[in-house]
């Protein structure tokens, strides 16, 4: 269990994916989803400058709150809810073991 956590990702078809995630590689949820070939674009590369990794946090984990940049980018996203986050701003850490996120729908 050295620096490996398990996170749950629900894709846009409702299917659950259990992913193992390293916490010692500076990875974020956008990168984790991409490496598992889940349909997350990550257009800007993780700078909170697009909204293509929009996801909902469905578990009760405490994640560091949104920066202004992230909040601003969510203004340009659609289907935004109170539990909306940009995956690139969720940094994988040991205390996120068991995290569950759901991928937000994509617009046109």
């Amino acid at each position: 269990m050295d620096h490996i956590i398990e996170v749950n990702v629900i894709d846009r078809d409702g299917q659950l994916h259990k992913l193992e995630a390293p916490t010692d590689m500076g990875m974020n949820m956008m990168e984790l989803c991409k490496s598992a070939e889940l349909p997350v674009e990550g257009t800007c590369g993780g700078m909170a400058m697009c909204a293509s990794c929009h996801m909902y946090v469905e578990s009760q984990h405490v994640i560091p709150s949104k920066s202004d940049d992230e909040e601003d980018m969510l203004d340009e996203a659609f289907f935004v809810e109170d539990n909306s986050r940009l995956g690139c701003q969720i940094h994988l850490a040991d205390d996120l073991d068991g995290l569950t996120v759901r991928l937000a729908p994509v617009g046109q």
């Binding site: 800007c44 700078m47 400058m49 697009c50 203004d75 340009e76 659609f78 729908p105 617009g107």
Partner: protein, 335 residues
């Protein structure tokens, strides 16, 4: 008709460096970009972000990288068609490509290099049912001519500078009624724009609806009403002549998807020998191409551009020998 040797689609870093490498082989280039300025993502998305993996630059701002690439390309006098999207291609009787933009500008060249990055930046369209039918019939994603809104009722959605600035402008004696709708209470524009919009809301010049979003648009041939949903207080219906959703830009592959190129996951498949596509004379370099082991890095795009122009030269001048000449020996001889 604009004639050149290599027609480059996309004026990002990769397209700009192609001008330099082609220039060394005495090939002329012309760049087309849907954005109104050169630089692609570097200028449009992150001009103030540092990039750390450009060889010999421990750190360089994306905007500065574009400036330096423009300077490096300058001796080779590239042409630019900016603010226009490459739309369609055909071949003429002399085996040259004729490329037409969305505004009808025609370009002619024996070689096309697609350096389109993520594609063309287009306005983000809200997921409201039936919206497509109302586009240009009361729904506009870009304000081209503010006079269109004179004396009209206008609803603007968005929380950034463009939403604020247009709301302020149109509310100041242009439109008869301006409503600004935003999904939360805070706006992210410049502080003085935010203050001005708040002042105008206080005096009733702008009707401000926060914690709200448009969920429905109705009209028979032209927009008539919008349904606005408040986070906690339910729905209301607004009568309006125009709705301008301003949610920024996002990249789309665009018309090149219909050019019969082999496309895999929004990228153009190429042969890594020379980054040629399945259509002879068309190459694809940078973030828009795909091949086994592809990495979407600017420095990889530079390498691809360099190899690509060698192949383009041989295609244009099949009988000429090409000898690699080092810039350290010969310097740069511009046009």
């Amino acid at each position: 008709m604009i004639q050149t040797d290599i027609l480059i689609i996309g004026a990002g870093p990769c397209g700009l460096f192609t001008v330099f490498e082609a220039g060394l082989l005495k090939l002329r280039c012309h760049l087309i970009d849907a954005l109104p300025q050169a630089g692609g993502q570097c200028s449009e998305i992150y001009p103030k972000k540092p990039i750390y993996d450009i060889p010999a630059y421990p750190s360089i701002l994306a905007g500065d990288l574009v400036d330096k690439l423009m300077e490096q390309a300058a001796p080779f006098q590239p042409g630019f068609t900016l603010g226009e999207r490459a739309e369609s291609i055909e071949k003429d009787s002399e085996d040259q490509f004729i490329l037409t933009t969305n505004r009808g500008t025609k370009h002619r060249a024996p070689i096309i290099a697609i350096a389109g990055g993520l594609g063309c930046f287009e306005p983000r369209k809200p997921p409201v049912p039936g919206l497509a039918a109302l586009e240009d019939h009361g729904v506009e994603y870009i304000i081209k001519d503010p006079e269109l809104y004179r004396g009209k009722r206008v609803v603007i959605s968005g929380g950034g500078d463009s939403a604020l600035d247009w709301a302020i402008f149109l509310a100041d004696g242009v439109a008869s009624e301006v409503t600004l709708i935003h999904r939360r209470q805070e706006f992210r524009g410049h502080l003085d724009s935010v203050q001005k919009a708040m002042d105008m809301a206080a005096t009733g010049k702008i009707q401000l609806l926060t914690d709200s979003e448009v969920t429905e648009a109705h009209g028979d041939g032209a927009l008539k009403t919008l349904v606005v949903k408040h986070k906690t207080e339910g729905e209301l219906t607004l009568e309006t002549d125009h709705w301008v959703p301003l949610f920024g830009l996002s990249p789309k592959l665009g018309p090149i998807a219909d050019w019969n190129l082999n496309i895999n996951k929004n990228a153009v498949e190429v042969n890594t020998f020379d980054y040629s596509t399945n259509i002879p004379g068309i190459y694809a370099i940078g973030d828009i191409n795909s091949y086994p082991g592809k990495l979407k890095l600017i420095l990889c795009g530079f390498h691809e551009a360099t190899l690509m122009v060698q192949s383009a030269f041989k295609r244009i001048y099949p009988d000429k020998n090409l000898v690699l000449k080092y810039t350290t020996v010969n310097g740069i001889n511009g046009f």
